[in-house]
Assembly symmetry: C2
Homo-oligomer: 463 residues x 2
């Protein structure tokens, strides 16, 4: 009995010892390897080189920031500490993984302000983390590459970043016509709201402003009728869901609709159209002046509207922007794996955010910058057939017929390497068939087989 | 009164609105910029190229793993889920940031085993996170670059990685004689414990084994007397702290002392010395056989003991190793900033870990690999004066005397860029003195000043 009663607990102990965790990537995260990773690294290098050529210098901040330093500036969200991965340190302070590379920059500038060059021109790439619901192609960790100029108020800094964005696309092999940097200015939006008589002191101003901007942002997808509905009573979509509108009257709706319908084909006429709608407002005039300055620089430096367009339907998130905003869009259409026509839309963007550093310093430190989302851009390059530029040197796999010869083959392979090739001796212990399968799965350009006859004759067979 | 009673809460609301977080890097984390970051990126690229040449292919896993997948294999620690940054996902699952790149590899191999080439040869670099007490030069996030061969049982795979480690050091400009890869085998350690009569079934075997290995590991620092004390009753250090010893008897201590005193100068005599101490034990014989095989390959491929040494005092952490272990040591001495003589010691290492994937799969999948700690290596390269190889193209800063001319200067700078230079127009609005200071702080090689006279004459002044 005593023995029997001990048995189950012993068995249990053994069972616990043999606990086998399931090997799986955490929900919403992924591994990257092979051609996809090569392409990503190639893109990061290419964009870095463009940023470097413009005089931006690399910065790498840590993955963590104190939660209070990240603040409530999460784009698309506007809720403090939601959407981030946060944990409490053993000294009771809350840290969060960065959700973008802009908030850490603001902290960095505020922390080191006195010893930094002014303006500070830094670029940075690295993963960012968003604690959101994952979906197909929507991961909770992804790669961004940013460039920002901090400490310059003038529009040359904004214009330069837009031109640099265009340069990045072309450096990646995306041809003119297949991308477009669309540019607007937040101050013009504010001018428009003022021009249609919205009272900034009104209780519901913020929420109405948000509803109007969101409606304008949907012009691309919903067209003028959809936007008009969202500006007025609201809109029922195909699934029957109703979205409450901004409740504007007909005259107001008409002006906002005029704004989003302005064609982006020609910068001068786009600016004229915008001017007609906001000209009497202070912030509208200021925003227009800034865009006019930028457009003049674009023209001077040879960037036409087929690369850099003025487009009033660009709203660019709902976060911290205070002046010019810009969005990089891929405009080509391509069939995806399922034969569906894919349109890529935005692969990055940015704008001026003069208030972000102010949170820490109390004083305003102007800043403007861009963020490029590498993963979506990589998918686009692959569809464009531009994903192959990143291929490494050809790989040679040397098979092993007889283990005794491996040392000689390792000498051979060291010579191939010294000649600049990638080369390896098969390191497993399987038979030739498995070795050839291995060489195949590695994408080897050349397979070297040394058999007995070959060894006797001092030659190798190439496959 | 009513008005007065409302005042404080209004004031409070305004105060809360003006909350200014302190801008600071989280405790134990840091930013990296300038020459330091350039050097790190250069090193990652150089080591990646060596790994690539050997046929290792890049992999990038996500920062998070499920906590159960990381398991209790944290090196130096052996305690489950301590020393890591962990958080609970909204579905109740615990995730941890990776503390090394080996545990994620084990998970990756187990998850994708059927579709992976066998052996799998992958390299990976990226930050790892340790939730430890930070100290001077000791950060809670740092960069590693690993290479592993998974699925090869033979010692050619281990030997290859040791030779590749030596190649990495030389590719970085560290000269022969300034580094040493020291190699041992865990099975020989087990053989030694068996040879001195330790009973693996004894209750206190694990803790005594640990104490003995830790004592051997200290041979470098404490010398033979220190190790002898730690093997016997124990040792009082200079501060008066007493470390309890392993409690071995004189004959046992003598054999362990003989083992650690074996000179690493000559591989053949080192192997003979080890053989004399463990030859009668099964695992000792097995370990020796493996080292002999590796040494033969080193000799065949021209790597002498000044690069790859057999050294019985290498213990290499206390974690998951099952066979050959290796450690990359920098052997040159250099003065640090304070004029102190600095010895760098280990900048990386690794070994065979045949059990790590077994946790997930149940079956043993052999693996051997190396991990290089980039930060410590970077500090060493800087002291060696080898840190400059990473310099980017020279930077040209063009100053702005009169804002009206900025567009023309931006055209000039675009031309310089097209000619392969890094070039920028000063983007701030400060006076010339501040602009020159800016150019200086950016490390500009060339400063372009266009004044009125120059503009009239169509020339620029170079400084």
């Amino acid at each position: 009995m005593t023995e029997n009663s001990e048995q189950p607990s012993k068995r249990k102990a053994r069972k616990q010892k043999k606990f086998k965790p399931k090997a799986r990537t955490p929900r919403g995260f992924r591994d990257m390897a092979g051609a996809e990773l090569q392409l990503q690294n190639h893109m990061l290098q290419t964009i870095s080189q463009v940023y470097e050529a413009y005089g931006f210098a690399a910065l790498d901040t840590s993955a963590f920031e104190y939660a209070d330093a990240l603040g409530k500036f999460l784009p698309d969200d506007n809720r403090p500490n939601e959407g981030v991965f946060a944990l409490e340190d053993d000294d009771g302070q809350w840290m969060s993984l960065r959700y973008d590379l802009t908030a850490p920059l603001a902290r960095y500038v505020a922390e080191h302000y006195d010893r930094l060059p002014k303006p500070l021109r830094r670029y940075q790439f690295g993963p960012v983390w968003r604690n959101e619901k994952p979906g197909p192609g929507r991961y909770r960790q992804f790669m961004q590459i940013d460039a920002d100029t901090v400490g310059a108020t003038n529009q040359a800094a904004d214009a330069e970043i837009c031109m640099m964005a265009a340069d990045c696309m072309e450096a990646l092999g995306i041809e003119r016509g297949d991308y477009l940097v669309r540019i607007n200015n937040r101050k013009i939006m504010d001018g428009l709201l003022e021009a249609i008589g919205l009272d900034p002191q009104a209780e519901d101003f913020d929420s109405r402003r948000l509803t109007i901007l969101r409606a304008m942002d949907k012009y691309d997808r919903l067209g003028l009728n959809g936007v008009t509905a969202l500006l007025g009573e609201g809109r029922k979509d195909e699934s029957g869901d109703f979205t409450k509108g901004a409740g504007l009257d007909a005259a107001q709706i008409d002006k906002v609709a005029q704004m989003v319908s302005i064609s982006a084909n020609d910068r001068t006429s786009a600016l004229q159209g915008m001017a007609a709608l906001v000209k009497d407002t202070e912030s509208g005039k200021q925003g227009l002046h800034e865009l006019v300055e930028m457009a003049a620089l674009f023209t001077k430096l040879g960037y036409q509207a087929d690369r850099l367009a003025i487009d009033p339907s660009v709203v660019r998130g709902l976060g911290y922007y205070t002046g010019p905003v810009y969005e990089i869009e891929l405009t080509f259409k391509a069939e995806d794996e399922d034969g569906e026509l894919a349109r890529f839309g935005s692969v990055g963007g940015g704008g001026r955010y003069d208030d972000l550093v102010k949170r820490f310093k109390g004083v305003e430190i102007p800043a403007t910058g861009i963020s490029i989302g590498v993963s979506r851009l990589a998918a686009a390059l692959t569809l464009l057939g531009k994903g192959d530029g990143a291929e490494p040197a050809p790989l040679v796999v040397v098979t092993v017929m007889d283990k005794e010869t491996r040392p000689d083959l390792m000498v051979l392979v060291a010579d191939l390497r010294a000649a600049g090739l990638r080369a390896e001796v098969y390191m497993g212990d399987s038979a030739m068939k498995a070795q050839l399968r291995y060489a195949d799965s590695r994408g080897a350009r050349l397979v070297v087989i040394e058999g007995e006859d070959e060894r006797a004759a001092g030659v190798v067979t190439l496959k």
